[in-house]
Structure formats: C-alpha cells, structure tokens
Amino acid sequence: MKSRLRTFDLWNMFWRCLFIQGSWNHKSMLGLGFGFSAIPFIKRLFKTQRQREECLRRHLDFFNSHPYYASWCLGAVAKLEEEAKRKKWDDSRPIEIFKERLIGPLGAIGDRLFWDGIKPAAAGAGIALALTAGWIAIPVFLLLYNIPHLAVRIYGLREGYRQGFDIVSGLSVRRYQRWFDVMMMAGGVIAGLVLAAAVRWSWLQGAGRMDPLHAESFVPPALFAGALLLTWVALHFRISRHWTIAGAVLLGIIISLAAAAL
C-alpha cells in the first residue's frame, strides 16, 4: 500500500502539469517540464536518492506532445511506474517506449482539436460578441475555451492513471475525427458571424458618427472593405503579415486623410 499514489499526488501532478511548457527547449522539448510534473509520483514511489535519480533521468529525456494532452501520458506513466515497482519489473524500457509511442497521437489530436478548432472558434465567438454586446464577450470567451481545456487536462490525467498502457486505444486520430468535424463547422459558422458583426459595426460607426451626405461617412465601411480585400490578396500571394499590415495601414491613412480633405 505504501507505494500507491494518493489523490493529493494526482492533484499535485495536475498543478505542475499546467506549467509543463515552461522550460520548452530544442533539445528535450517538453522533457524538463515532464520531469518537473513527474516529481510528486517519483517522491511517493521511490524512497532512495539513487532510485529517484534513475526515474528522474528516464523522464527528463526527450518528450513532446500538445501541452494539454501531456497529462494523459503523465497519468499513464505514473500508473506504469507504480506497477513496475509493485511487480518488480527488471526493465523500465517498456515505459520509455510507451512514452515515445504516445508523442505522435497526443500532438496530432491536441493540435487539431485545440489550435485548429476550439481556439479559433472560442476567440471568434468572443470577437463577434464583443462587436455586438461589449465586455460580456470576455467572460464568455474565457469559459468557452477553458471548460474543454481544463476538462481535457483533468480527464486525461485521471484516465491515464486508471488505464495505464490501455490509454493508447482511446488516442487514435480516427476516433476524434467527429469532434474535429464538429469544431471545424462551428468555427466556420462563428467566422461568418464575426464577418457580419464587423460589417455591421463599421457601418454603424460611419453612419452614426458623421453626416451621411458627406464622403467621410463612407470612410469606415470603405476602409474596412479595402483592408479586407488587400489583406486577402496579400495572404493569397504569401506576402509577409507585417508588410501586409504596413501597406493596409498606409493606404488607410491616405484614404482617410483624402476623404477629410474632400
């Protein structure tokens, strides 16, 4: 019983895992962060300095994953180290191979689900709401993003610790495909809403602030549409983002000052 993890250890690992990317580097990538997050279970399972050092060196090696999905691997590795200790495994190599095998799926699933799906969708919803309803967009954005984010981290650590090696079966890109499609669709609808909200906002700013009979009243929607088209073309021809912005801003200054002179 002495070498079993406690609930406190799992929460401690979860807390540390929130900082896993803090020491990201080109040599070990998330390796140092993984070792840092593994300390609670290492301290619980191993009592001598030599054992702790051996285990630490194993987990300080190269490791990479999407940061939110690293907790899945961390939970599973904790379980495997616990079993290895209890059943007195001769070789820890299976644990290292298991970690290596998880790198690909954890990165692919996390990147597609969060960076391609949830992040643009949540930010888009925040922007659309900010343009129509104001500050309420901020808590909505934080909740839309962080509920799935923290759920994935907590669930992954718990399930990893419960299933050990078996966690692999749940981590196939194909099983997540439905979620990717749903997020992609939601993102598209939200992007459309952002566009409509931006058109409305720039239109109302122009009409609301100036006399519609003057050229100036058309400046906001004209600048909005001009910048949109120019940036689109620049993105299409792979022109650098900053050059594009500089060009659009310069043109914007010229157009708005010219309209003022008319």
């Binding site: 080109h26 998330l30 300095q49 669709m185 992007a191 931006a198 906002w201 910048a227 900053h242 708005s256």
Partner: protein
C-alpha cells in the same frame, strides 16, 4: 504615470507566461489582456478596442512548440498601455490609439526573437542540469522555475521597453502631426478590423469549408436586420 508603466509591465510578464509557458488559460489573449490593462489604468474602452483588433489580427498565430510566432499578446498589451497612457498624457486620444496600434505590431515582431533566445537559454539550462553528477527533484524544480522566471522577466522587460521607447517616440512625433488629422487617424481601427476579418476568412478559405461560413454570415446579417427592424418598430 511611471507607476502605471510598472503595473502594465508586470502584467506583461504574466501575459508572457500565459502565452506558452504556464497555464495557457487565455488571459494572455489580446481581448482579455488589453481589457485588463484598461481596467488597471482606469480606462476600459480603449483597451477593449485595441484588444479586439489584435485578437482578430493574431487569431491564426499558434503558440505551437518550435514555431516562430509573433508575440501578438505582448504587442497588444503594450499597445493598450500606450493608447491609454499617451492619450491621457498628450490629450490626443485618437492619435494615441492609432500610434499605439502600430507600435504594438513592432513589439510583437521583436517578441518573436526574444522567445527564440529564451528557448536557447532553456536548452543550456537543461544541458547543465543533465551534466550534473547528481540529479535531485529539487534541482529539477529549480531548473524549471528558473526557465519560468526568465520568461516572466523577458515579458516584463519587453513590455517596459516597448512602453518607454514608444512613449518618447510619440512625445517627439506628436507635435509634427496636425491636430486636425487626429479624428481621421482613428479610422485606422476599421483598417485593423478589415485585416483581421481577412485573416479569419482566409483561414477557412484554406480549409475549403465555405458553407458553414456562409451560414454564419447569413445568420449574422439576419440578426442585424431583425434588430434594426425591432428598433425601428419600437420608435
């Protein structure tokens, strides 16, 4: 004034941490971080507007492991701080917003190179740790916390440098811009909005997913039409 600069700079340190190194609970995203700068400095509105613009422009910048990405979050934080402080100091808030937005873009570009330098520094901290004759949990914790501290210091330093440098640039540049131009320069907000929308649309153009986009735009326009109708009927 300088007390405000220090407060925004320290917030910049937390923004740098949240961007990739710690938590990633998106308080560093421009929409949130700039609004917090607005609250800290007692002028919510300019911070919120700057945050909105930068959120759109940097929507597709991903803080993925080894990628070199523009530090849009820090750039936006500096821009929000500058917009409020310069507007208050000079009495020309419209010019301050336009200038701050451009300054924020430059800071975000500089931030990308600082992140690369930090990653190299992290690699040397990791190498030194692994070369130690004995590795203890305490040594690992110290090495990791040192990396986090460096990230915080870099964020704070970059924000401070951005605020101070552009404060003096603005002080020398502002008298050269006729006061009559200020209101028209404010129109740059629409340029930023247009750029941001193009970034967002292009993201979906590349994915070849047009019908959800059209459905969303249709829904948005319908909502706009109905609210306008309701407002007209109410009158």
């Amino acid at each position: 004034m300088w007390q405000d600069v220090v407060v925004v700079s320290l917030w910049g340190g937390f923004v740098a941490l949240d961007t990739t190194a710690a938590m990633q609970i998106v308080i560093s995203r421009p929409l949130v971080s700039c609004s917090i700068v607005g609250l800290l400095l007692g002028s919510f509105s300019p911070g919120f507007i700057i945050g909105l613009m930068f959120e759109l422009i940097y929507l597709d910048e991903l803080p993925v492991g080894g990628a070199l990405f523009n530090e849009g979050n820090l750039g936006a934080t500096v821009a929000a701080g500058l917009a409020i402080l310069l507007g208050r100091e000079s009495g020309r808030p419209d010019l301050a917003v336009a200038f701050a937005a451009l300054a924020g873009l430059l800071v975000s570009k500089a931030g990308a190179h600082i992140v690369v330098a930090l990653r190299t520094l992290n690699a040397s901290i990791y190498t030194r740790l692994m070369e130690r004759p004995r590795i203890t949990p305490g040594a690992v914790t110290r090495a990791h916390l040192l990396c986090l501290l460096l990230m915080f210091a870099a964020g704070t330093g970059l924000t401070l440098a951005g605020l101070v440098v552009f404060f003096f640039v603005f002080r020398n540049l502002a008298p050269l811009v006729p006061a009559g131009w200020d209101f028209h320069l404010r129109s740059l907000v629409y340029v930023f909005l247009g750029i941001g929308c193009a970034v967002l649309l292009y993201l979906f153009y590349e994915r070849k997913r047009w019908w959800p986009l059209a459905a969303g735009a249709g829904l948005g326009l319908l909502f706009w039409f109905l609210t306008a109708l309701a407002a007209g009927g109410g009158r």
